[in-house]
C-alpha cells in the first residue's frame, strides 16, 4: 500500500471537499446563470417586441411610415437587437431597421406558418439569433358602447431579431472569469494549506529527527522549537521529558553495567590468578618431580645397558615400565599445560590414515587382548589434512579410553568420508555414558566409574586433551552413547588431498648403527641429572663434560664440544639458552644444542621453544636423546 505523508493527507482532506464543493457550486451557478442569461435575452426580446408593438400601434393605425421608421430605428439600436420589422395585416413591410440573418421574404413566409399572437412568439431559427414576433393589436379604451363588441383584429406584426452573440460572448467571459478566479482562489487556498500543513509537518519532521537521534542513542538531543499547535507542543515536551528520563535511566544503567563489569573483571582476574596459580603449581610440581624422574630414567637406561643377567633385566624391565607409566602421567599433564599455554602449533599436512590406524591397532591390540576385547579397524585408506602427531594423540586417547571402559566385546575404529570431512568413529561395547555425564566427560580429571581414582585407569585427562586438540585441528568431536550399550565417539576432521602429500616422515628416527664418539657438553644445575646423563652418554660411548653453569662450562671445555645439552633453568637466573649462546660465542660457531626442561609453565615453554634450539621435556626419552645426538653427529660430519 502506498503511504502518504501528513502534508499529502492534509492537502487531500482539505482540497478534495473544497474542489468538489467548488466544482459543484460553480457548475450549479454557471448553469443557472447561463439559463438565466438565455431566459433573460428571450424575456428582453419579448419585452422589446411588446414595447415595439405598443409604440408602433399608432404608426400602423395611422399608416405613418416616418413614425414607424423612427421607432424601428430606435428599437434596432437596443443591445442584442439585430433587426426589426413592422408588417401590416397584409404582411406588407411598413418599416425595417437593422440587419436580419435571413432575407425578409423568408421571414415573412416563416411567420405565416407560425401565426404570431399576443403575447409574443419566439422562434429559434438558428444558433446565433432568434425571432420574436408579435401581432399589433390596437389598445382598447372602454367606452359606453351600446352595441356588442366584435373581436379586436390585429393591424400588423412587429418582428424583432435578437442576436445571441453578445450573450454567448458574455457566457464565454463568465466561464473564463470563473475558471481563472477559481484557480486563483484555489492557489491562494493551496498556499494557505501549504503554510498550515507546514506549520504542522515542520514540527513533526523536527520531532521525527529528534526521535531518530534519540533512537540512535543521542539522548542529549532536545526539541528546540515552539509550535503554535498545542498538541505538538505537548508532544514536544513529552519527547523532551522522555529523552531526559532515558538519559537518566542510561546513566543509572551504565553505572550498573560498570559495577557489574567491575565485579566480572574482578571475578575473571581471580579466576585467571587461580588458573595461573594452578599452572604454576603444575609447572613447579612437574619440574620438581621431573628432575628425579629424569635422572631415574637415565639411570635405568644406563643400568639396562650394563646388566646382562636375565633376572635383573626383568627387574629393570619392571622399573622401566613404572618409569614409563610415570612418564605417561607427566606427559599427559604436560600436554594439558602445553595446550593451555597455546604453545603447540599444529603442522598441517596431508597424510594417509590407514598406516596410522594399523600402527595404533598394533599398539593397542595386545592391551585389548589382555582384557579379552576384540579390536578391529574398518575403512579404506583416505587422506586427511591434519597434524599427524596430534591427530595420533587424539586417536590414541579415544582408543585408550574405549579399551579402558570396555570389559568385554569389541572396540572398533571405523572411518569414512563424510562430505568434506573424514568421520572417524571409535565405538565400544562398554558401560556407556548417561546423558548427564555426556556434558562432563570432556572436563579435566573426570573419570567415570573410578571413584577410587585408580591411577592405572589414567588421570581423566584424555578427553580433555581430545577436546583441546579438536580446537587446534579444526576437528569436531561428538559422542553417542546409551548406558549398557557402549559408546561411539565421532571425530570429524578435514579431508586431505593425496597429491599434496610430502614424504618427510620416511626417515626413521631410531637408526642406531655405529654412532661415532662425540664430545657432549652437559649443563645442568642438578648434580643427579648431570650424573645420570653422564652415565647414559658414556654408555653410548660419548665423551661427556658435565658442568653446573656457563662459567664452569667455559672453563671446562678446551675445544668446541660436538653437542650441548643444557637444562633450561640454571642457577643465578641463567637459562640454558644463555649458556648455549655463551658457548657459541666462546668458540665462535654454532654447535648443535638441546634444551631440556622440567618446566611446564607456559611462558617458559614458549620461550624455550622460540629460542630455535632443539627442545625436550624431562624426563627425556632416551631414544629421542639418541636421535638428537645422531643428528648432531651428522652436523659435525
Amino acid at each position: 500500500m502506498k503511504r502518504f505523508g501528513v502534508r499529502q493527507y492534509i492537502a487531500f482532506i482539505t482540497f478534495f471537499p473544497l474542489i468538489a464543493i467548488t466544482a459543484f457550486l460553480e457548475v450549479f451557478f454557471i448553469y443557472n446563470y447561463f439559463a438565466e442569461l438565455d431566459l433573460h435575452i428571450v424575456d428582453r426580446g419579448v419585452l422589446i417586441a411588446h414595447q415595439f408593438e405598443e409604440s408602433s400601434e399608432y404608426g400602423v393605425m395611422s399608416n405613418n411610415l416616418k413614425f414607424m421608421e423612427d421607432i424601428a430605428k430606435n428599437v434596432s439600436l437596443e443591445p442584442d437587437v439585430s433587426g426589426v420589422l413592422i408588417l401590416n395585416s397584409a404582411s406588407k413591410v411598413l418599416a425595417k431597421a437593422g440587419k436580419f440573418s435571413s432575407p425578409v421574404g423568408e421571414l415573412i413566409v416563416e411567420l405565416r406558418h407560425t401565426m404570431p399572437g399576443k403575447p409574443a412568439v419566439v422562434n429559434h431559427y438558428n444558433n446565433n439569433s432568434f425571432l420574436v414576433s408579435q401581432s399589433i393589436l390596437p389598445e382598447t379604451v372602454i367606452l359606453d358602447e351600446l352595441e356588442a363588441k366584435s373581436a379586436v383584429k390585429p393591424i400588423g406584426i412587429v418582428v424583432v431579431e435578437m442576436s445571441m452573440l453578445h450573450t454567448k460572448k458574455l457566457k464565454s467571459e463568465i466561464l473564463w472569469y470563473t475558471i481563472i478566479s477559481t484557480i486563483i482562489i484555489l492557489a491562494i487556498i493551496g498556499y494557505i494549506v501549504h503554510l498550515v500543513s507546514r506549520s504542522i509537518t515542520l514540527p513533526i519532521g523536527m520531532l521525527s529527527n529528534v526521535i531518530q537521534k534519540i533512537a540512535k542513542g543521542n539522548l542529549e538531543t532536545r526539541t528546540t522549537f515552539s509550535s503554535r499547535i498545542n498538541e505538538l507542543d505537548v508532544l514536544s515536551n513529552g519527547i523532551d521529558h522522555m529523552a531526559e528520563q532515558l538519559q537518566n535511566e542510561r546513566v543509572v544503567l551504565h553505572q550498573r553495567i560498570d559495577d557489574a563489569t567491575f565485579d566480572m573483571r574482578n571475578s575473571k582476574e581471580k579466576a585467571e590468578r587461580a588458573n595461573l596459580a594452578k599452572s604454576k603449581f603444575l609447572a613447579a610440581a612437574s619440574h620438581d618431580l621431573r628432575q628425579p624422574l629424569h635422572a631415574l630414567g637415565l639411570f635405568a637406561s644406563a643400568l639396562n645397558e650394563r646388566i646382562k643377567s636375565s633376572e635383573e633385566r626383568l627387574l629393570i624391565e619392571n622399573i622401566n615400565q613404572s618409569i614409563s607409566s610415570l612418564e605417561e602421567l607427566f606427559n599427559v599433564l604436560l600436554d594439558i599445560s602445553r595446550l593451555d599455554a597455546g604453545i603447540i602449533q599444529p603442522k598441517f599436512q596431508h597424510f594417509w590414515i590407514k598406516g596410522l590406524m594399523d600402527k595404533l591397532l598394533t599398539e593397542f591390540k595386545a592391551q585389548a587382548q589382555r582384557k579379552g576385547i576384540n579390536m578391529q579397524l574398518e575403512g579404506v585408506d583416505v587422506v586427511i589434512y591434519s597434524d599427524e602427531t596430534l591427530f595420533e594423540t587424539m586417536l590414541r586417547n579415544l582408543i585408550n579410553n574405549a579399551i579402558r571402559y570396555t570389559q568385554s566385546g569389541e572396540v572398533k575404529v571405523a572411518w569414512f568420508i563424510d562430505g568434506s570431512n573424514v568421520c572417524i568413529e571409535v565405538s565400544d561395547t562398554g558401560l556407556g555414558i548417561s546423558d548427564e555425564d555426556k556434558k562432563l566427560i570432556f572436563q579435566e580429571f573426570l573419570q567415570l566409574n573410578n571413584p577410587e581414582r585408580d591411577r592405572t585407569k589414567g588421570l581423566g585427562l584424555g578427553l580433555a586433551i581430545v577436546r583441546r586438540l579438536c580446537g587446534l585441528l579444526k576437528s569436531t568431536i561428538s559422542v553417542q552413547s546409551t548406558i549398557g550399550s557402549g559408546s561411539i565417539f565421532r571425530l570429524n576432521t578435514p579431508l586431505g588431498d593425496a597429491s599434496l602429500i610430502t614424504d618427510d616422515n620416511s626417515v626413521s628416527m631410531l637408526q642406531i648403527e655405529n654412532e661415532p664418539t662425540m664430545q657432549v657438553l652437559v649443563i645442568d644445575d642438578e648434580p643427579s641429572v648431570r650424573d645420570a646423563m653422564t652415565a647414559l652418554l658414556n654408555t653410548w660411548g660419548h665423551e661427556v663434560i658435565a658442568v653446573g653453569s656457563l662459567s664452569e662450562a667455559m672453563q671446562a671445555t678446551k675445544r668446541p664440544p660436538d653437542a650441548i645439552i643444557a637444562d633450561y633453568r640454571l642457577v643465578n637466573e641463567q637459562t640454558g639458552i644463555d649458556a648455549i649462546q655463551g658457548i657459541h660465542q666462546l668458540w665462535g660457531r654454532e654447535i648443535p644444542s638441546l634444551i631440556v626442561t622440567g618446566d611446564t609453565a607456559p611462558e617458559r615453554l614458549q620461550e624455550a621453544q622460540s629460542s630455535g634450539y632443539a627442545f625436550m621435556h624431562k624426563p627425556v626419552n632416551s631414544a629421542k636423546l639418541r636421535a638428537f645426538l645422531r643428528s648432531a653427529n651428522r652436523h659435525k660430519s
Binding site: Y58, S62, T140, I142, L143, L146, A148
Partner: protein, 310 residues
C-alpha cells in the same frame, strides 16, 4: 245640417271618451325592462332605473330581447337599446318606452317597424344631446375655436344638415369629411384635423370605438386639436370635455314618464333629456395649453346663451 253632423261627431267622440275604458295603474304597474345585450352600460342603466322606480311599479328585467313576447301580463316595456326596442316594438302590443338610443336611431326604429305592427304607444328620451347644446358647450369652453371638424360615415346616424344650420347660425364653420372605409379613417382624420381647431365626435361606432379612440385621441393631441367626446369615458380617455346625460339623469326622466303612464296611460312625447352633465379634462387642456373654465361656469355660460344673454 253641418251643425248636426258636427254635433253627432262630438257626441260620438264624447261617447268614445266616456265609455272607453282608460287604464289606470296608480297602484300596480307591471313593468318589463328589456336589455338589448348584457352590456355593462345597459345593466347599469337598468339598475339605476329599478332603484328609482316607485314601489307601486313591479319591474322585471329581461336580458334576452328575443323572449319579450313570452313575458305575460306586462303593462309597459322599457326597452334599453336598439335591439331590445326593435323586439319590443315588433313582437308585442304593449306600450314601449325606448331608452339609450339617439334621436336618429329612434327615428330609424319608427321607420323599421311598420305602424300596423308597432306598439300602440311608443316614446323615448334621446340619448344624444341636441346640436344646440353641443355647440353651446363648445362655445362655452373654447370660444376661440370656431372650426369644428367632423368625421362621419355611412353608418353615422345624425342630422348633419340641422347641425350645419345651427353652426351657421352661430358663425361656426363645420369641416366634415366622410370616412369611406376603415382603412381611410386616419387619412380622413388627418385631413379634417389639418383644417379644424376642434374635433367633435358623433355616436358612430365604425369611427369612434374602443379600438380606434386611443389613436384618434393621439392624433388629435399630436395635431394640437382638442377633442369633444360623447360621455364621461371619452373625457377619461383623453377628450377635453363632453356634455352628456348621465344614466341617473336619463333614468329620472324615464321614471317621470312611467309615473305619467301609470297615472293616465299616456307616455310623454319623445324628447332630449332635460338635464345634462358637463365634464371637463383640465389635464388634457393643460397639455394643449388651453385654459378651461370650471364646469359650473360653463353651465352658466350655456344657460345665458340659451336665454339670449350675450
Amino acid at each position: 245640417m253641418r251643425f248636426n253632423r258636427l254635433r253627432s261627431v262630438v257626441l260620438v267622440l264624447g261617447c268614445i271618451f266616456i265609455f272607453n275604458p282608460i287604464p289606470c295603474w296608480a297602484d300596480n304597474l307591471r313593468l318589463l325592462v328589456v336589455l338589448s345585450y348584457d352590456l355593462p352600460a345597459y345593466q347599469s342603466f337598468a339598475n339605476t332605473l329599478t332603484k328609482n322606480l316607485p314601489e307601486s311599479v313591479q319591474a322585471t328585467v329581461l336580458h334576452n330581447p328575443e323572449k319579450v313576447a313570452e313575458q305575460p301580463q306586462t303593462d309597459l316595456i322599457v326597452s334599453v337599446g336598439m335591439r331590445a326596442s326593435l323586439s319590443a316594438v315588433s313582437q308585442t302590443k304593449v306600450p314601449v318606452f325606448v331608452v339609450m338610443i339617439p334621436k336618429v336611431s329612434y327615428e330609424q326604429l319608427l321607420v323599421q317597424s311598420p305602424k300596423q305592427s308597432r306598439a300602440p304607444l311608443i316614446s323615448t328620451v334621446y340619448l344624444d344631446q341636441p346640436w344646440e347644446r353641443q355647440l353651446n358647450f363648445i362655445q362655452a369652453i373654447l370660444p376661440e375655436h370656431r372650426r369644428i371638424g367632423l368625421l362621419y360615415s355611412a353608418q353615422t346616424l345624425a342630422d348633419l344638415t340641422l347641425l350645419r344650420k345651427q353652426a351657421a347660425k352661430l358663425d361656426i364653420s363645420l369641416i366634415d369629411k366622410r370616412v369611406l372605409s376603415e382603412d381611410k379613417l386616419f387619412s380622413t382624420l388627418y385631413d379634417v384635423l389639418d383644417s379644424s381647431d376642434i374635433l367633435l365626435s358623433l355616436p358612430d361606432t365604425t369611427i369612434y370605438n374602443s379600438t380606434s379612440i386611443r389613436n384618434i385621441l393621439l392624433s388629435c393631441y399630436r395635431s394640437g386639436i382638442p377633442f369633444i367626446g360623447l360621455s364621461q369615458t371619452y373625457v377619461n380617455a383623453g377628450a377635453i370635455g363632453a356634455v352628456f346625460s348621465s344614466q341617473q339623469q336619463l333614468s329620472e326622466q324615464v321614471v317621470e314618464a312611467i309615473r305619467l303612464f301609470a297615472r293616465n296611460g299616456n307616455l310623454p312625447k319623445p324628447e332630449y333629456s332635460h338635464d345634462f352633465t358637463i365634464s371637463l379634462n383640465p389635464e388634457v387642456a393643460r397639455s394643449l395649453d388651453i385654459k378651461l373654465s370650471s364646469p359650473g361656469i360653463v353651465r352658466s355660460i350655456m344657460s345665458s346663451v340659451n336665454r339670449g344673454i350675450p
